[in-house]
Amino acid sequence: MTPDAAAWEALRLSLWVATFATAFAIPLALWVAWVLARREFAGKALLNAAVHLPLVLPPIVTGYLLLVVFSPTAPVGRALEAAIGLTLAFRWTGAVLAAVVMGFPLMVRAMRLAIEAVDPRIEEAAATLGAPRVAVFTRVTLPLIAPGILAGAVLGFAKAMGEFGATITFVANIPGQTQTLPLAIWTALQIPGGEKQAAIMAGLSCVVALGAILLSEWLARRVAARISGP
């Protein structure tokens, strides 16, 4: 009972997509979380709703909307391709985008909670000691919200590993290109006699999930120890 080449390929692609999606989404989610936690502006409710939309929309609708916006024939998709040669639809890059969009609300939520838990008066104290704004963020705020960022990253990674509906709608199910682990399992289940490979890949999914949880717990402990001081 060993995973076949397609299973390994799907696992590699899933890890690749999830890692890219998480790395890409962290700074963006942090910025949006910061704006939602700390700024008051017209349209804040709208931004909040837009961020959370993928959480409540059927994933297939999200995938469809992505296709509408980013397909090579749509204005945005065409402009992206012309400007930086980036094609999203039916490519692994599109799978990354789908994972980012679907994981975004979870990441923003975790980070926003962490930012709201930081007492702005502590940051004021840092400013009175002479720290410019950037230094206040990197030396005070960032260390204090690090556990929230980590939690958000883990959630985003998990979501990316498991994303199915929006991915298959937006980038289809191309082995080696866009066929991530969940898509490969679903494909295997469609083929007579594919149950065995499906079971093996489901097992792989469990191993990756367990590893991610253990890694994040370990990181969270280390960060927490650093934050609460020696």
Binding site: D119, R121, I122, E124, A125, A126, A127, T128, L129, G130, A131, P132, R133, A135, V136, R139, V140, P143, L144, R226, I227, S228, G229, P230
Partner: protein, 361 residues
């Protein structure tokens, strides 16, 4: 070193219109909650922008709303000690102390070891803020502000969250700052008259968003008009006395310009000058020199002014030699004794009226 401030601001519940100057030494800002004290500190620190304001230090303009000028907080170099310490929870005490060091290129030199000695922080350096007591936290916050090499120190009710024993633990450090080698000007916000009587050189009284009185501490505290501002129970003159000797029975002799006092609980060495706070309600007036009295502290005084209060009481300004005292008696006693400005009489101070905590310097 002179800080000058003028601000107006309209809050939903109150309107502030405050202007004063703070020179060297400790300038205390006193008022009840809502009087505008914290707004002043926040404005000076650069953490709050009122409707209109001008703030300058030695002519160096820091905030001028009319000219749309506002130097950001981190460039103002005002070390601030907040009521709630606000230590960085992810850093230990030493890292908290050193936080501002890298930005402190200019400003008067403050030696790290000196500050650690002055505030007794040596044994706390590796501790985390959450393991410190309230008094220790305030000491660390004070040290952290000092080591950022501020041009001036702002203290927003630094002792308000502490109980009396902790206050007594920190007050000597603050006196050390006032009298010590650092000579840092301090703007000190408080609603505790005993702290102010002990620490301040200059006093600014705020009431209802306005400056009700300001001047040297000894003048304002002995001004009968300040009695309602400070509260009738808290009002009382602050005078300076010189320790002469300590007797074996626990009493010490102190010399004033008009005589001597016998007081318990004085620890300063003979020759030292100490501050005494004499509450107005603890001064009794007598037309004749009292004899065979349980209190031995009697000073000959001349009445300078009589301020009738809203109630049955009257505040009386007294001069004892070159010192000024304040007494609070009933309006009926003023009439029966025919007290008027220029009347010579005797002030009786019970020895116990001077609390140990109010004996400073």
């Amino acid at each position: 070193m002179t800080l000058s401030l003028a601000l107006t601001h309209r809050f939903a519940s109150a309107t502030l219109d405050i202007a004063f100057e703070a020179g060297t030494g400790i300038t205390a800002l006193f008022g009840r909650s809502g009087a505008g004290k914290t707004t002043v500190i926040q404005t000076v620190a650069g953490l709050f922008q009122p409707d209109t304001a001008r703030v300058s230090l030695n002519g160096d303009m820091l905030l001028d709303t009319q000219a749309r000028l506002s130097v950001p907080a981190h460039k103002r170099r005002f070390g601030t000690v907040f009521q709630d310490a606000r230590l960085f929870p992810h850093l230990d005490v030493a890292q908290n102390l050193d936080f501002g060091a890298r930005y402190a290129s200019k400003g008067p030199a403050v030696k790290r070891s000196e500050v650690i000695d002055l505030l007794g922080l040596a044994s706390l350096l590796t501790r985390a803020p959450r393991t410190l007591s309230g008094g220790e936290r305030q000491r660390v916050a004070l040290g952290r502000a000092l080591l950022s090499r501020p041009r001036m120190l702002l203290m927003d009710e630094p002792l308000a969250s502490l109980d009396d024993p902790r206050k007594l633990e920190i007050l000597p450090y603050l006196e050390g700052l006032r009298d010590g080698p650092l000579r840092l000007p301090i703007l000190y916000v408080s609603h505790a008259v005993d702290e102010i009587a002990r620490l301040a050189d200059t006093l600014v009284l705020l009431q209802g968003g306005r400056v009700a009185a300001q001047g040297p501490l000894f003048d304002v505290m002995s001004d009968p008009a300040a009695v309602p501002l400070l509260g009738v129970r808290e009002a009382g003159a602050v005078i300076e006395a010189q320790v002469v000797e300590h007797a074996g029975d626990g009493l010490s002799t102190l010399r004033l310009s008009a005589g001597t006092l016998e007081l318990p609980g004085v620890r300063a060495a003979p020759g030292a000058r100490v501050r005494l706070r004499v509450l107005a309600q603890d001064v009794i007036l007598s037309m004749t020199r009292p004899e065979r009295l349980s209190s031995v502290n009697v000073l000959p005084v001349v009445i300078e002014a009589i301020h009738p209060g809203d109630g049955p009481g009257a505040a009386i300004a007294l001069r004892a030699g070159s010192d000024r005292l304040l007494a609070r008696v009933t309006a009926r006693a003023v009439a029966e004794m025919s007290l008027r400005p220029g009347t010579h009489c005797f002030a009786i101070l019970k020895a116990t009226t001077v609390a140990p905590g109010s004996i400073g310097r």
